[in-house]
Point group: C2
Chain length 446, copies 2
């Protein structure tokens, strides 16, 4: 009885089992003959890969979604995206809420700032609001995209395409049904598609807590430290990233060079937004220069913001680390942002998340060099980071992966999705109070 | 008057100007006609590159040392290696000594443990001992290598070769005069060369403080926390690295496969030792598998230990970061090693050094993708880490570098040599005491 209760209350286990179940169910459905255009259903490993990619809102694909699946198959994928994205966002937000209860008054502040409530009623209201936000944003995006697509296709198809891509992008899922692994390359210069997609990705990527604070800003006239960091870091990464991509690709005849100035600007902006961690693309990724690809790897590794539909080590983690370095170099005792001090415990968490992520990404890249012999190192590195941060961009490796490679990447996507939250939960437990402290020792650094 | 005094007392400036002067002098000498076999002297940029590589004890070469230089030229290079290596080791040790004086009783302990003295007399004795250790180890290594080489060449040449390679390896300089960019590949299976070289590299790489403590161990019967961490981490990295290289290269027909079991073991061991950061090699680096090369990049990035002739972020930095992660995951409040607590200030220094190193290596790799178009990404990444950590291993890029690439890599070698120490000095200054502390804020991580 007690163990059952414990199980039902252990959030990381609920997360892992919940996602696992959805993936298994999706896998079975995708193997059905009616799921694929060829009427034979997807082979088991490919179905497992696709279901994992959809549920973990990654977007890496071993078969082209638009070319391979029937509408039924596509709807299965879209359902997994919606359940995975919404489930994860709710879960992450709830977890922050529960952790707030478990730990201390201080830890709870940020949730309370948004909701001022910690009862069951509060939780229900929280989840309701997450669903409401999702519905409103996805419908708005879907309608706009449908209108735009209706200029090129029949109304019914336009609505279907509009909503599929709105849902996929808000959930940072990276799936598209354009066919031929083309992604959104047909719309590189299109202002409506660009602005709509970038808005959907950005809302999905900043996380519910920030969205909620922005929504309530009219009334509260204030933002929490968390929101200020998320918004400023996301903004800096997008604009600095876009500027760098613009410069690096300006003379690349396969990407920006032949485009109009509007196309060049949107192309650079979109490719700077998508690593946060949408995974859709308007430029053909393998055509980008090595320097741009390496920059995108860096942006993908940072990824989105906590409690969002995106992955990566998170914008806040990156900011905390930079803040710690800055304060160290300036000889300051405290790490501060916007006039607020950040405790050592938070810096230690950021360090832990980042080092574990570096270690995992490094190890996965190394195993890929063994399972995928003869493949370009950058391609493998790119794929490992993309899978870990659940981004879904690829230099074209995914469909060519060996069976071992597919299994490795699908495990990486799963670990990249449930891992950081499980880890955040583990490290958020109250630190053991020790009555005895070891004497201090001295170590030289650098 | 006052500014002159300040200048003469600012150790980072002394370091930068001292190394700069030696490099400029060496550059001039290497452009002399009598320095090169072709009687024309080395072109200016190549001379600057070689002088920087020698003085910063790196070992990256744009021309083959043995084939290009006369004995006079080689002696200039060897002199720069000796001055650079000895100068740096003395400087780093003295700096720890001076910093000990400036800061606090606690910070000073480690030096005092070795020397029990902080007067001018103490400094003189310290430097004398560094010179003595260097002389004894280099002479012992030189004699052994000379005897071994005399089996294959005339006595005079064997002595010259023996001492050149002993000095180069103790100083972790990575230069060899075997010709044809071959390195020590003719001695992969030779036990005497392997054991001698590995011993020289290891002594040079653990740093003077640890060497001194080992030397005094007969009397004191104790090691400081610093030495314990240096010795255990170095040991683990070498043996785990050797095991992994052994497994990864076992079936590689270009490296270990055709060798005897002894050759395989020495080959794996040597390539696991040399990233700490000797730079000589007994296997041909471009023949290694991508997985092995990536492992070597990781080992090179960590590099040697503080106050040594080697570079990198240092074994202690790596250990401190791992310790912080371990304590975070286990929910412990303190980070401890061997029953000693490590203060947050040390963790913060380790974090700062590592993040700045990652940023530099990433940026340099990115610039190389622009200045060296069409080159393999792994090759560029390998070269950037090798230069930054002053390792000197290369996948063969160095001689093919463009002029921009050469300039970038020589700046990287210089920054990699004087940078971490300058940084260590900067971050070791007493943190400003603030009477006002900002209120604590909350940020979500991961
Ligand atoms: K994605
Ligand atoms: K070296």
């Amino acid at each position: 009885m007690r163990s059952k209760l414990l199980f039902s209350l252990d959030p990381p286990k609920v997360l892992v089992f919940g996602f696992g179940l959805i993936i298994l169910l999706g896998t079975l459905l995708l193997t059905l003959p009616s799921a694929t255009v060829d009427g034979r259903g997807l082979p088991l490993l490919d179905a497992l890969f696709t279901a994992t990619s959809a549920t973990c809102v990654t977007g890496l694909v071993v078969v082209d979604t638009g070319d391979t699946f029937t509408k039924f198959g596509e709807m299965i994928i879209l359902s997994m995206i919606q359940i995975g994205g919404l489930g994860f966002m709710s879960f992450a937000t709830l977890l922050a809420f529960i952790l707030g209860k478990r730990i201390s008054f201080k830890e709870r502040l940020i949730i309370q700032e948004s909701l001022n409530n910690e009862t069951v009623e509060g939780i229900v209201r929280l989840v309701k609001r997450i669903f409401l936000f999702t519905a409103v944003i996805e419908i708005a995006g879907g309608v706009i995209l449908s209108m735009r697509f209706s200029q090129n296709m029949a109304a019914g198809k336009a609505i279907y395409y509009g909503f599929f891509h709105a849902i996929s992008n808000f959930n940072n899922a990276g799936f598209d049904i354009m066919g031929g692994y083309k992604g959104l390359t047909a719309y590189t210069s299109d202002p409506i598609v660009n602005i709509t997609m970038i808005t959907l990705i950005s809302f999905g990527g900043i996380g519910f807590i920030v969205m909620n604070e922005l929504y309530e800003y009219r009334r509260t006239r204030r933002l929490s430290l968390h929101s200020k960091i998320v918004l400023s870091v996301s903004g800096i990464l997008v604009f600095a990233g876009a500027l760098m991509i613009f410069i690096l690709e300006y003379k690349n005849p396969s990407t920006l060079k032949p485009m109009s100035m509007t196309g060049k600007m949107f192309g650079a902006l979109y490719q700077a937004v998508t690593p946060r961690t949408a995974g859709s693309n308007t430029l053909n990724i393998p055509d980008l220069k090595q320097s741009t690809l390496f920059l995108i790897i860096f942006l993908m590794f940072i990824g989105a913001s906590p409690g969002s539909t995106g992955g990566g080590i998170k914008t806040t983690t990156f900011a905390i680390l930079l803040g710690a370095v800055k304060s160290q170099i300036r000889g300051r005792e405290d790490v501060t942002f916007f006039g607020r001090r950040v405790d050592y415990s938070i810096i230690s968490k950021a360090l832990t998340v980042t080092l574990i992520a570096l270690f995992l990404v490094g190890s996965i890249t190394m195993v890929l060099t063994i399972t995928e012999p003869g493949k370009d190192f950058l391609m493998l590195f790119f794929e490992a980071v993309s899978a870990f941060s659940t981004v879904g961009l690829s230099m074209g490796l995914t469909p060519e992966l060996s069976s071992y490679g597919k299994i490795l990447i699908l495990i990486t996507m799963f670990a990249g999705r449930v891992g950081p939250l499980t880890l955040a939960f583990a490290v958020a437990r109250k630190r053991k109070e020790t009555h005895y402290r070891h004497p201090a020792g001295k170590v030289m650094i650098g």
